[in-house]
């Protein structure tokens, strides 16, 4: 049905998932205006790429959630956004206390962020950087001046802990 891109398909998607996706977007993009733009882009993207969704690779929501997250991260990294000095990328030089580079979470009482608060700070930081900020393992390794392998392992551990908390 979705592949037909019909009116009903849109209604189904929007009614069931727009709230969840909007929530995810808002955790990454705190400003409402910008978050609205992202939500629109996300739906456009979903609509365009619906043919590429492969249900054998995962659930529909996972796929949409990925699109939403990527769109939100693109937004906060965009020149426009950064010109507004709402966010700063991790510079190449070392800075031990990374928490100052993290966007002050507006909604840390809901969703994943709430769960994150229960993690050790070190793990929370990693997840914040990789999931909410979209930095690659390499970028994180470089910025924190720790080996790539260590970053990977730590993220994996953090995620397993996260999974245990939510499942």
């Amino acid at each position: 049905m979705l592949h037909e891109r019909s009116e009903e398909a849109f209604n189904y998607l929007y009614d069931n998932y727009s709230g969840a996706l909007y929530g995810v977007i808002n955790q990454i993009v705190p400003e409402r205006e910008t978050a609205n733009d992202v939500l629109q882009e996300v739906f456009i993207n979903i609509w365009k790429k619906i043919d590429s969704y492969d249900s054998s690779k995962g659930r529909l929501f996972t796929w949409m959630h990925n699109i939403a997250r990527n769109a939100a991260i693109d937004k906060i990294r965009s020149k426009y956004y950064q010109d507004n000095l709402k966010n700063q990328p991790i510079p190449d030089n070392v800075h031990n206390n990374l928490s100052s580079y993290i966007v002050k979470p507006v909604m840390d009482d809901i969703g994943l962020r709430k769960i994150l608060t229960r993690l050790k700070e070190e793990y929370r930081t990693l997840i914040e950087l990789s999931y909410f900020q979209g930095f690659t393992h390499e970028e994180i390794a470089k910025a924190m001046n720790i080996p790539l392998g260590t970053v990977k392992t730590r993220i994996r551990t953090a995620l397993i802990q996260l999974r245990n908390m939510i499942q």
């Binding site: 929007y14 727009s18 995962g58 996972t62 959630h65 969703g111 994996r156 995620l159 499942q167």
Partner: protein, 253 residues
Amino acid sequence: MIESCVLGVATDQDRAEFERMCVLHPEVAAAREVFELSLEKIAMQDSVDPPVEFKEKISTVLRPGQTEVNRISESFKRESKMRRLNWLKFAVAACLILLAGSLYWNISLYNKKNQLESSNQKLQNDINNYAAKMAEMENDAKALQNPNIKMAALQGTQHSPQSFATVYWDTTSTDVYLMINNLPRPASDKQYQLWALLDGKPIDLGVIELKQEKMIPMYRMKNAAHVQAFAITLEKKGGSDSPLGDMYVLGKL
């Protein structure tokens, strides 16, 4: 690995590897599904409703099929409107041409009508003329049928031997009719004059107003009570009290 892939933080390489694993080991895929559901549950629990008007806004942006159809139907409408306009233009042009043609026809008919009217008038005039001439001739003929008419043949004189004229004199009414059988055309400043001769004395019977268009050159002259002879002389235009010019014809009763 499951979490990284589902959350979208895994590298492309890792993800490809993971996907292969899922295919090969259904239990991995099952585990993935479990995590996905948990994630979905959290996301649903903490969903934030977008602004109410948003749905409509996004819906209109997203109707590519609709806009495609709209675009096509708009272009169809425009095309058919253009076709209608073209037809209209053609119709207007055709009407103008017909109008122009009709105007031209009108004008030429009008001219024709005028021509016909004037030639009709001319014919009418001619008819009137002829009628008048006929009437005149009839009168003359009638006059001549009168048994009281005496005829005098006026012969040409030495001055103009070929000349000849005839006078018809009604003795009862004393009307005098003159027939110019043959008289040379006078100069423009001269005119013929008829005289009645009585006891050797000439009596003016009037100047002859020669009319070339007369069917019969018969002229009514002044009345004469007593006449012995008639003569015609050529006087100056307007006539003379007594005969001064050359005599052209002379005849006794």
